[in-house]
Symmetry: C2
Subunit: 486 residues, 2 copies
């Protein structure tokens, strides 16, 4: 029997700085937080009266604030004043109903509330134990979402499935994860039949494929993964067809390369085109090529039965990804990724059962949970349908004006159009639009031509905004054409 | 002169779903948002009365909620009720003053307010034009922070510097970025002297180095980058020394490999040890090895002059990273990374002037701005000092109890300790602690031995919490020792 020493906790040390002043306590947070709620609500309620694209020059901000952090605390009032003075003039208002650039960046009040809760809890879910609710809600929410999309059972975790979903930050990360998992699987597979071959040699022969219309992040994933990547030409609808890929794969195999990965796009960034995955899937399966589907924008629409056929062929895919933070009312960041075999993803990173590059992660599934429950599937479907209908309205208006042409089939909420005539003319039109800042569009190149993209983005975009946008565009065009022809 | 067609915006289409019911409007958000502010304030004010580690079994959550998303909207009250019923029992309370696991995950009221604003603005800053304020504030805030750390001028952007800082999500991402940039630079460099050599061949010869005590994400970065990675043995203080690395580099060069990257750690995860970068830096510079410094946890302390010497040697580094989201009162995610040459990072990804894997990004610099201004540099220094002093108090108590031993030098807010005796004994102590859930610690392995880590984590951790924790630990130990010896 040991003699226990006295357990003494009265340690007399000088803890002089232990009573440091509190900068903002809970009471002040209650007051300031409520003010911030009103600030955000005011901002969103009045956003349409702001210039959607800011009128500042690069470097505008640096001279407006000190060059060093203050030594002593400043007042909250001063900080908030500077939000209006320094930040607001430099914001591109993504949530404005006049914002028609890029693709939507989702937002909704339930998602904002969930994000506040997530911030308050401040837990980091990098393992199950680090916050069980965080890991578990994410798995179940991705099952809910997978069912909403009618994903094949293989992709769901359920209680004993081999597949499952995980939240990534962005589609770029999901693409990279898929490519790395495919690389790992391909190396293992070649090794099995040819154990002499070094990993480096195998990797140097791997070839990935994606559409020439695919997002640049696919090419970048190839660069990061150190594998070759080839761009596949598209048909007249900007879609990759099996025939084209098949030829490239045959060529590459004949030249001693190892085709291992194809990233299909459903809803390309330039024109929202759809690769023909019902043809491509069987080809990839036969050739032992990992098919990843990037449906970053379009994916949200697949919750509507009438758009779900666009996803047909997903049953052939190894992984699938889309961004609820684009078009499903869940604010950034929340990119949903599913795989058929969780072990493929886990195996690629050997070190722990985590499925992404970052180890730490916010409690992002709370946003999905709040939004799914507060909108219901019917509310989310209605939201998607409204955006698609608004795009159709815009398309109809463009078609009625013979000075313009539609440049790609309008399937969802994006309309690609241009003034008949030179690229310069269209560039001048966009430049004037951006200069005035009443609506915001960005361009794309389709078959080498400069094309304007009109995307329905805002949660509060209504028919009148679309009509006003068109009026504005046509008025500017009239002035421009007059100038060009006079 | 052309004939203009009539600009007609009266398009008669059936827009039946355009008047869909609003799920939650601004008025309701004002009410619910204010309730949520109170919910968060209540949570944080009363957090210490909660069990810090949850008492749930894996899989607990799935059966508590439906297996599919509701078709129709539910009420907000029901959602909030479920937060209490489903989520709270499964939360590990990272913000509790009884939380001493891992490293801190920062939080503060000013950061929460900034995050609310960030969510409300909902802008995505992937290029300057996508939201000028977002890109510009980030650059200036990283300059502010760089100055607070007294980083060499080379790392700052200023108005015409070649260096600069960028916010990444996590230190894992920063390490990967640095390794990829170094890989790109090394390939280019070898190519210049030996243009015949293929990129794949060069990459297969590249070797990266890091401490055997380094975070697993460094090894993973090597796996992703497809390069060899070797673990460097540490000295009796768990620090990498130049002598050891020098030998490995010489060996590898002699064997035809190309040393190209060393990831130094300042403040390792297991014991907060510091690699000797004043020795290692000159070695790396002489050998043309990219030195990246990962100071994920410890970096925040360098804002205090008394801890700044720990960063001496940073002048030899090519890149440096730490996580304000760990210990600088800025909530997750916000990992600050600086490079001496921005072009190195941009060059590694060719495709666009973006410095990370994800393209989209939240307006995270707002959190830095709010926190720096509301706390002031003095307030942040006081906060760091308080945590370090609390760790010293804990260390003193451990040292006074002869049943225990300190297992690594206590430099900042982490104390590594154990009961003298077997690993089993210490494992039993931790198991009991975790089972009771009054305080939460995680273990580590040091030289093969099972060691307990006591980290001061909470923003509201006070002297009494540290004393209570020690009383609890000693009481459990007494019972345990009694049982083991009876």
């Amino acid at each position: 029997m040991t003699v226990f020493v006295c357990v003494c906790v009265c340690v007399c040390v000088c803890v002089c700085s232990l009573n440091s002043r509190v900068t903002m306590d809970a009471a002040e947070f209650r007051r300031r937080g409520k003010e911030m709620v009103d600030f955000v609500a005011d901002y969103l309620e009045n956003i349409e009266h702001r210039r959607v694209y800011p009128d500042v020059e690069p470097g505008y901000l640096r001279s407006m604030i000190p060059s060093e952090a203050p030594l002593e605390p400043e007042s909250y009032e001063d900080v908030l004043k500077d939000v209006d003075r320094v930040i607001m003039p430099g914001i591109t208002h993504w949530q404005s109903p006049h914002f028609h650039a890029y693709f939507p960046s989702a937002s909704s009040y339930p998602a904002l509330l969930a994000d506040m809760l997530c911030g308050g809890l401040g837990c980091i879910g990098f393992t199950w134990a680090a916050s069980p609710a965080c890991t578990e809600l994410e798995t179940v929410m991705l099952d809910w979402l997978g069912k909403m999309l009618q994903l094949p059972e293989d992709f769901l975790a359920g209680t004993k499935g081999q597949g499952g979903g995980v939240i990534q930050g962005t589609a770029s990360e999901a693409t990279l994860m898929a490519l790395l998992a495919a690389r790992c699987k391909a190396v293992k597979c070649v090794h099995e039949s040819d154990p002499q071959r070094s990993e480096a040699d195998i990797i140097s022969k791997l070839i990935a494929y994606t559409s020439e219309e695919a997002h640049s992040s696919v090419e970048r994933a190839g660069l990061i993964g150190g594998v070759g990547i080839r761009m596949v030409a598209t048909d007249e609808h900007f879609s990759v067809r099996a025939e084209t890929l098949e030829k490239m794969v045959a060529e590459d195999k004949a030249a001693g390369f190892i085709p291992f990965f194809f990233c299909a796009t459903l809803g390309t960034t330039p024109s929202c085109a759809f690769d023909k995955i019902t043809e491509l899937g069987p080809l990839c399966n036969a050739e032992n090529i990992w098919m990843h589907i990037d449906a970053a924008y379009a994916g949200s629409s697949f919750i509507c039965p009438e758009f779900r056929p666009l996803l047909d062929g997903v049953e052939f895919a190894d992984s699938f990804n889309f961004n609820p933070h684009k078009w499903l009312l869940v604010n950034f960041d929340c990119s949903a990724m599913w795989v058929k075999k969780r072990t493929d993803l886990i195996g690629a990173f050997k070190l722990d059962p985590h499925w992404g590059i970052p180890l730490g992660r916010r409690f992002r599934s709370l946003k999905l949970w709040f939004v799914f429950r507060m909108y219901g599937q019917s509310g989310l479907q209605a939201y998607i349908r409204k955006h698609v209908e608004l795009a159709k309205v815009f398309e109809t208006m463009v078609k009625k004006d013979k000075r313009f042409e539609i440049c790609a089939e309008v399937v969802l909420g994006l309309v690609c159009f241009r003034l008949k005539g030179s690229d310069e003319l269209n560039e001048a039109l966009l430049k004037e639009m951006t200069h005035l800042g009443r609506i915001h569009l960005v361009p794309c190149k389709l078959r080498g031509r400069f094309v304007l993209r009109f995307a329905v983005c805002g949660r509060t975009t209504e028919l009148r905004h679309v009509q006003e946008a068109w009026t504005h565009i046509t008025e500017l065009s009239s002035e421009l054409l007059l100038k060009h022809h006079s």
